[in-house]
Symmetry: C2
Subunit: 636 residues, 2 copies
Amino acid sequence: MAYGYAGRVLHVDLTTGSLIVETPPETFYRTYMGGSALALYYLLREMPAGIDPLGPGNIMVLALSVITGAPISGQSRLTIAAKSPQSEGIGDSQSGGFFPAEMKAAGFDAIVIRGRSDHPVYLWLHDGEAELRDADHLWGLETGDTLDRIKLEIGDQKIRVVQIGPAGEKLARLASIISDTSHANGRTGMGAVMGSKNLKAVVVRGTAAFQSADKEALSQLARWGVKHFADSDAASLGKYGTAGIINSQNGKGGLPTRNYSSGFFAQANDISGETMYETILQKRETCYACVIRCKRVVSVPDGPLPVDPRYGGPEYETTAAFGSYCGINDLNAIAKANEICARFGLDSISTGATIAWAMDAYEHGYLTQADTDGLDLHFGNAAAMVQLTEKIARRDGIGDLLAEGSARAAEQIGRGSEALVVAVKRQELPAHMPQVKRSLALIYAVNPFGADHQSSEHDGPYEQPGAFDYYAERLLELDLQSPQPRYSLQPGKVRYAYYTEIVYSLLDTLNVCQFVFGPTWQLYDTAQLVETVKAVTGWPVTLYELMKVGERRLNMMRAFNAREGIGREADKLPPKLYQPLKGGKSDGMAVSEAELEQAKDWYYAMAGWDVASGRPKRGKLSELGLDWVADLLNLP
Amino acid sequence: MAYGYAGRVLHVDLTTGSLIVETPPETFYRTYMGGSALALYYLLREMPAGIDPLGPGNIMVLALSVITGAPISGQSRLTIAAKSPQSEGIGDSQSGGFFPAEMKAAGFDAIVIRGRSDHPVYLWLHDGEAELRDADHLWGLETGDTLDRIKLEIGDQKIRVVQIGPAGEKLARLASIISDTSHANGRTGMGAVMGSKNLKAVVVRGTAAFQSADKEALSQLARWGVKHFADSDAASLGKYGTAGIINSQNGKGGLPTRNYSSGFFAQANDISGETMYETILQKRETCYACVIRCKRVVSVPDGPLPVDPRYGGPEYETTAAFGSYCGINDLNAIAKANEICARFGLDSISTGATIAWAMDAYEHGYLTQADTDGLDLHFGNAAAMVQLTEKIARRDGIGDLLAEGSARAAEQIGRGSEALVVAVKRQELPAHMPQVKRSLALIYAVNPFGADHQSSEHDGPYEQPGAFDYYAERLLELDLQSPQPRYSLQPGKVRYAYYTEIVYSLLDTLNVCQFVFGPTWQLYDTAQLVETVKAVTGWPVTLYELMKVGERRLNMMRAFNAREGIGREADKLPPKLYQPLKGGKSDGMAVSEAELEQAKDWYYAMAGWDVASGRPKRGKLSELGLDWVADLLNLP
């Protein structure tokens, strides 16, 4: 088996137009491996604290990993990281699709983007070459049109792009980066950062064959996945998409409803993955080389809210945010809102949640039709929700304010509306409820880039003795004993949250899909992830080494925030989560603030951080080989 | 592949004669796995702090692991742990041989021994049955005679024993426990504990076939070892035994000479493994199912110091302790001293080092012939060394005092002799010099049961860039980058020491030979250790889980000591190590106390312990699932 990995990092300075290719040593790749950790390496070293996230001083990194592009499910994902215009701490987002595998084939592992162009440009990478091109003619275009124009211009239908829409151009803090037309680096406002740099798109095309140390081992792993997929718990994702969990979430009282006031939505089935499958689903889509095919393509050809299938279809999160969050059971309207987010480049979770907040404020009388350009924002008004989504996308009227996100909008409006915000570090909560999945209370609070559902394993059915033994068995690979008591934040649950957080941190460093590889229900387990890294790189890695890489990335994010003055005090949940939910199975449930604070004590201590401040300490950074980060923070 | 492990733990109360068999749940085995961690589980839970290590309140645990007895090299080792009469903190020792595999076949994983019998007894385990038998007739016998008598009495030549000799009966704190006649649980005074309980021997015989989940995988691993042994760095151990390193140690200035005053012994070759091979070696021996055959059998049939081959032959440590430590180049005398240690049950390292200390004190005039029963204890007097070894074994004359070890003897004698003691936590230093292998300065200081050379990887040639790439590659499996600067205790070296300490802690929990499996030069690497545990237990373990088990054991030892009031202040090196060595390649070298204290700061911080006190904190214990230990220590 060949041993080694070599790759290339492109450094782009948009202010000067310089393009420099770096070929880092193998030890660099072995230490950081890719994705978020690789991005953090540059962000920490090359960007001082306190810069304006929407100014030219911000650095944006697009990063693949050493295994991205491997012809096996779940290996085509892209990290985009920068200082976040939402939290003003670390921003970090992942998307799937085809762009990542194509970028690898084009000969680049990462792109480090500095400065600001004085006019719109796009970056064109092809087979090892890099070029900045004028994008004046693309500025203002929606994502579908931009893609069409670039394909024509380059004369190659096989190019792949990541791009911003009009929302990113207008620096909406809710702006996302869209990959082709239907995948999104949705969260933490990366679209606004790209917009602030006058960078409309990154376009890639490559023909290099994927290099792996052990083709046969890789191929065996791929075949194993194809063979076992149908019997795996990931199979349901294929048929009904991520929205296939709507009804089960609702049954547990875990479907956020009417701005997180309840975990039960009486009309949940109207917006379920099953209903989508039976009504508006046109076909299933996939990412590069993936067997799961969880992506939706929905189509509504006629009627008042036609939906164009080229923009894909709503995920579970999107469906909940525009649906139950807003008390809306109109799947057509939800699909339309999703389409608008993809066309204009908006984060669908934050946009839906911000509308839900506005509706809640409207119901409370904190907002009136005088504020809303005349829109009636009662919960359940589907037409108003779609109109408001488009207003946010265009920064039109009240949409201009809401494009800043619910937290900033509430800060501006006041009147008591701040108490209705459901966000952490100004990032709106995703649709897995901490009241019901208690480990998420902790992870939503402490996650460096705000509330996130993809940063740890959720606690769920495998908390019940006897049930889901298969999950419990897999968790033992991480030295985690099951079951843990449900609805608790005892030390065992904190440990579960922390260890699985490290796994997910690793997944976002290797840029591996969390539906394909993971610690419980996913198609492949962590041992197979080790085998995948071995087969591609030839490095004799172990899960121990990989977990240390995951821990390293988590510590680097935490260090980034510490340097920005963001620590324990920012690791807090919104007050709404401490109020009892109403209705359904979770009626009366709430997170206890005292319990969360106690859990944070344990969590920081387990992580080797300072309990009082939540900041990393030199001991842990040094243990992870990050002495240079400790030096950067002037730690004693 | 079958999944699961079931085993039995025998609880013996020598005061009442009760014998109770416990069948712990599988989660217990998965969490603690065996060996030292399993022993610590009982010691921590069932023994209060402050008890007399030689009183009936001490608990002694003999423990195998879930993989002990597997028909593959390095899997027949036994942990014996109790409160140490040397350090009065945790005592912990390992031996190889045939007893461990036989005990497994007899149907027991561990024996927890409490109380004190009112007369000598031995414990007889055979095929699931346990019985206490009278041993009045064996008391006072040397180990060879005891073995013969028990074989006759039981009528089975295939029994295996662990036993004490007269030294253990007389509660010599240097007493070891001898397995059959030539393997030893040498360190930390376990023989004295066994003697204090009036327990002469534990005898085992079993016919149960070894159970493994995947026979074929195990067999493949065994065949791999047979095939690759000759080309491995472990091969030299086979030919020349552990003493094969005498000349290379000496060449680096790392052979402790004249009570650690020098790292260079001019006559080193006279006592080398090569010389032993060419002169007194009768044959090579082995432990159960091991391909390496590192054990020596030496024979001197005639002359003034005849040596009986049934007691094996000296290891590197023994050769150095009775040889270069004492300035002695007489291999016959060294072999004789080794034989006495095996016959009487003495730790050869501590005995040799205590004699070296006495010689140093004699040279300084702190001891005179008035103290030494007339013996001339100048360095180099081989005949006096042999006589003194026997005096210690019989607690005769000055031997009565020296049987307490050099630290206690110096405390009693005074006169400045305390400054010559070379011990940590009252345990004499083994023969790998911290001045030359700098990571050992830290590990000797912090190891919970005193200075130990088998508790971490030594630093050595793989510190040189380009050299020993194979080791560097293996170290990457542990997320350790090479090379590290030599003769330093910088954070990178501390991290190397700490991570490999966890590996060795794991090895002493799985009871695996550290010559066979390990992080650098050993026959098998850590990934193959994972495969071995999988093949035997069927558990889908990962290196991550196993490293957590190793870390757990280390923390349990540390917690045991904390409860006894032993913390950072006891983690110190003897003053001699801060004085420059004289002669050879290490001339002028010394450990710096300031550097060590700084390294301890880093080490405790990396380990998640309190830097000021060196005690475990709740955060780390909780992270390892050891909340119950934190509760036991009343940690906040």
